[in-house]
Symmetry: C2
Subunit: 188 residues, 2 copies
């Protein structure tokens, strides 16, 4: 996606050879016009999939997910990292974060997933793929189907993309980072 | 706001006399069309304020904030509850959550607030007002101004609304809950 790549080249910066800082437009400060364009792009890329719900994880997936859900005119659900006091029965999965070097639980109320759902899973970043695999587990616990995965920025030098494709997942990444070596952002 | 009140009456439920469960459309599953309508409503209510940035807290404020920011065509920033490894200098505030009975820190990178900013603070709920007061502290640390506070659902039986108004804040709440007594949602 040309617009997203332009943002990455203009505003992104390299923190070390594996961390791309994009917090001026995607995961701390957010450009809402870019988000809505991302929403339209995913709508087009998954237009034949009969998506009826968009799923992400709090917090930085929410802005993208709401934009996609608005474009597709379907509800959005975000998995929570803590089970709220108001939630009764839930589906759960454990996700390992390599960035934060810790495991965390993600949870979605059983009320909001059903066996008839065709789910589009979206997130801001794809690196090792663990968050997406956790979300896929939750979808499958509900008897529903992951009909696609939409990622804003895939780290092409990490194995997440290959792992998901080997599982037969239809993956669409709007920008793929080939390398962050030598303090330089190289896009595929 | 009529549409939001209809959602609350149709889909909301009372968990005890102080907790309103609205997770089918606002803070777990989210209706994106409702969000965009909320965005337009806040745009109208604050149209004379020269807002140039929208500020909220992760996670459940993000969907509303992105919708408001999109309507106003300004950037959105969300305060984080954990300082990410990529963030350098930041403004901080401590917020006490009465629901969760704990203190937590909120943080915004110094990069994304400046003394010239006219900030609209938005959130899904207003109860005791502590989260908003924390965000206001962060805005003031940056030398910027809170030009308004937009809340989707205010608990009118808790003091947050009065506390904010006594501080001279222009507060707009789209729905005010008068009472949750007797397992019944009473709107003001």
């Amino acid at each position: 996606m040309k617009l997203l790549k332009e943002y990455i080249e203009r505003e992104g910066s390299v923190k070390d050879s594996s961390i791309l800082k994009v917090d001026s437009f995607i995961n701390h400060q957010i450009d809402p016009i870019l988000m809505m364009e991302i929403g339209e792009e995913f709508k087009n890329r998954f237009k034949d999939k009969n998506i009826n719900k968009v799923l992400t994880i709090e917090a930085s997936g929410i802005a993208i997910a709401i934009a996609v859900a608005y474009a597709m005119k379907v509800p959005m659900v975000f998995a929570k990292k803590k089970k709220p006091s108001t939630m009764s029965e839930a589906y759960n999965a454990t996700v390992h974060s390599f960035t934060k070097k810790e495991d965390y639980n993600i949870t979605v109320s059983k009320e909001f997933l059903s066996p008839n759902d065709n789910i589009l899973v979206v997130d801001d970043f794809l690196a090792m793929g663990n968050a997406i695999i956790g979300l896929k587990s939750i979808v499958e616990q509900a008897g529903a189907v992951v009909s696609g995965v939409g990622i804003a920025i895939e780290k092409g030098f990490q194995p997440g993309g290959e792992i998901l494709k080997k599982q037969g997942i239809h993956l669409e990444s709007l920008a793929i980072i080939e390398s962050l070596e030598n303090n330089t952002i190289t896009l595929r």
